[in-house]
């Protein structure tokens, strides 16, 4: 895991170096002496390997350096401003995706091949087929502009969070619904469900205590990719709804070619994702008793 992280930091660093021109070449009419001074100030005239190790060292100390575009701000400040907002939005979206996705999937599986199954799955396919930014625009148009039920943009109250969270959660929710359904169907075909019925347990009890608990295992594993999807989805959703989150900042920094911000945010995101994968693995270990966390094997 650490290996991946170092790889990412290194790759990001060298990729940024490979970009044509320095960070100041795009700015209008910078006289060469000023450019040289700026470069010296930011340490850009140092040999490459020194820059690289300096950067690694800084990252380890959680210092991502200054922003090249917003002269008064550091990358850390940018992250600190934007991340809490994106975090809130992201968690809201994850909760919606899981809640609705699982419910839809369970219903579809329990009413397999009946109308509930078909309609749930059609909804799911549409969820996957419509890119989140298209959905976001449509939602914005219908519910905010035309029907005036929700605010159009910005991030001022809880009502402001609803449409963006829905748009962000649509694709993951669809995936979760399909995954839950196929997992439920697989579990239902297992012998131990037959055993449960042979014990005379009520249908509802069987579903809740036996079927769902076992069917959730693959869904928990999916949480890793889910986080990644929500994260990247936030880029466009925040832009469309004018939300000043980290995703929006990232997009702006890309357009502005603000390299330190790009690097810093990339590294930050990568750390986030690696942590979330780790958490998911731990969570899975708790839920599935067949996975030994401690490594000690119990005898017979």
């Amino acid at each position: 895991m650490i290996v991946s992280l170092i790889l990412i930091v290194t790759a990001t660093f060298f990729l940024m170096q490979a970009a044509p021109g320095g960070p100041f070449t795009k700015e209008k009419d910078v006289p060469p002496e000023i450019e040289a001074a700026l470069n010296a100030h930011y340490g850009l005239d140092q040999p490459l390997y020194k820059q690289y190790f300096d950067y690694l060292y800084d990252v380890a100390r959680w210092d991502f350096g200054p922003s090249f575009k917003y002269k008064a701000m550091t990358v850390n400040e940018i992250i600190n401003n934007g991340f809490p907002i994106s975090l809130f939005l992201g968690i809201e979206a994850i909760l919606i995706a899981i809640a609705f996705g699982v419910v839809l999937g369970v219903i579809a599986a329990l009413y397999h091949n009946k109308w509930q199954d078909y309609s749930a799955m059609i909804i799911a396919v549409f969820g996957i087929s419509v890119p989140s930014f298209i959905l976001a625009t449509v939602l914005q148009y219908i519910f905010a502009i035309k029907l005036d039920l929700f605010p159009v943009a910005r991030w001022e109250s809880f009502m402001h969070t609803i449409l963006p969270a829905i748009a962000l959660s649509s694709s993951p929710m669809a995936f979760i619904a399909r995954l839950t359904r196929s997992s439920m169907l697989e579990v239902l075909s297992n012998d131990y469900i037959k055993t449960a019925r042979a014990k005379g347990l009520k249908k509802g009890t069987i579903t809740m205590k036996h079927t769902i608990r076992n069917a959730m295992l693959p869904v928990v594993s999916y949480m890793g990719p889910l986080t990644a999807g929500i994260l990247t989805g936030s880029f466009v959703i925040e832009k469309i709804f004018g939300i000043p989150g980290l995703g929006d900042e990232f997009v702006t920094s890309i357009t502005n070619r603000d390299y330190t911000v790009i690097m810093g945010v990339t590294v930050f995101y990568s750390i986030l994702l690696l942590i979330s994968v780790l958490l998911v693995d731990i969570l899975y270990g708790f839920i599935d008793p067949r996975i030994k966390l401690s490594g000690a094997k119990k005898g017979e």
């Binding site: 055993t195 014990k199 205590k209 119990k298």
Partner: protein, 349 residues
């Protein structure tokens, strides 16, 4: 002896996308209290479907009971709703399945899986149920039951899992235990242990057992009476001695001759029954076994044979028992058995 279970004219079919499959085509048998009835047959003979239908475990679409009665302790189970069956399953009738690896919930403690049954059917408190679960594990021969009760199925060996399944099935002291090939997936030595356990428990708890298997060796070990099934029907039924030493149906002959026995010499061929069971989407007109039957007569292809009575306890559905049928010689292996039978009978007087 009192009858516990009477199955009359049972017909079960399934709607599949190839058509309607008639898995059980008119099955009749009785089960008396305290006895063990073995149902023997190949895969596809309908034995599992029959046993699962008694508990109405077959998913009702696509399956359906198209005819018949299942009288359990006098009450017909066929018209009962699922809710009503839930009161009977696990309480009056228990069932154990073939594969202990997959029959237990992998994410639930074994003890909990027993406790569930006790709480549901005997209204025990959780504490009492746990104590009883430990007792049951001890009863089925699992060592250190106090520790085992908190473990998960993957921590048990195959044989132990099957014992746990037995504990679950017998937790409420049911009148009937249906065992669907319980030893097929186990090693031979474990098999013997499980069979001993079952016989032992049966004596202690006075349970009646329906034992489903394709293994005649197991039948000889545990059964009082035997019913042989083929293509959805019972073709012969009798006591263990009658079936093994005086079989009358060519299919039974085939089964017995394909079994190696300790007193057969090298010259005796092991006979395989050629061909495979018929496709039950289109059940054949006459005797379903006819195409594979060396002794088939013209009528076997035209009409299904009725059950002919051989003794009070012994019946077989074959035209060979019709008074007009020619006398045929059963295969060598079977003839030798029959000799042992009659000489035994003479000795017993």
């Amino acid at each position: 002896m009192e009858k516990l279970l009477e199955v009359k004219d049972l017909e079960v079919s399934f709607q599949t996308y190839a058509g309607e499959v008639k898995a059980v085509r008119g099955v009749n048998f009785d089960l008396y209290k305290g006895e063990t009835l073995a149902i023997v047959g190949e895969s596809g003979s309908g034995k599992s479907v029959t046993s699962q239908t008694i508990m109405k475990l077959i998913p009702m679409p696509p399956g359906k009971i198209s005819n018949g009665q299942i009288l359990f302790d006098g009450e017909d189970l066929v018209p009962k709703t699922n809710k009503e069956m839930e009161k009977i399953r696990g309480k009056d009738i228990g069932m154990i399945f073939q594969d202990p690896m997959t029959s237990l919930n992998p994410t639930m403690k074994v003890g909990m899986q027993i406790i569930e049954v006790l709480i549901k059917h005997q209204n025990m408190s959780k504490g009492n149920a746990k104590d009883r679960a430990i007792e049951l594990l001890r009863l089925v021969g699992i060592p250190s039951p106090e520790k085992r009760v908190n473990q998960y199925p993957h921590e048990f060996s195959g044989g132990m899992r099957q014992r746990a399944m037995i504990a679950i099935a017998l937790a409420s002291n049911p009148k009937l235990l249906i065992a669907d090939e319980p030893t097929t997936a186990l090693d031979v030595t474990i098999q013997a242990q499980i069979l001993e356990l079952m016989k032992d428990l049966q004596k202690k708890m006075e349970t009646s057992i329906i034992f489903i298997t394709h293994d005649l060796g197991v039948v000889a070990n545990v059964a009082d009476r035997v019913a042989v099934m083929y293509a959805g029907k019972i073709v012969e039924t009798g006591t263990v001695d009658e079936i093994f030493y005086n079989p009358k149906h060519p299919y039974t002959w085939g089964l017995l001759s394909s079994m190696p026995s300790l007193d057969s010499d090298e010259k005796t061929e092991l006979m395989a029954i050629p061909g495979s069971p018929p496709d039950l989407t289109n059940p054949p007109k006459g005797d379903a076994f006819a195409p594979r039957n060396r002794y088939a007569m013209k009528i076997d292809f035209e009409k299904e044979p009725p059950m002919f009575k051989i003794s009070e306890t012994h019946y077989a559905a074959t035209w060979l028992l019709h008074p007009d049928a020619p006398k045929v010689e059963p295969p060598e292996a079977v003839k030798r058995r029959m000799k042992n039978f009659s000489s035994d009978k003479l000795r017993k007087g």
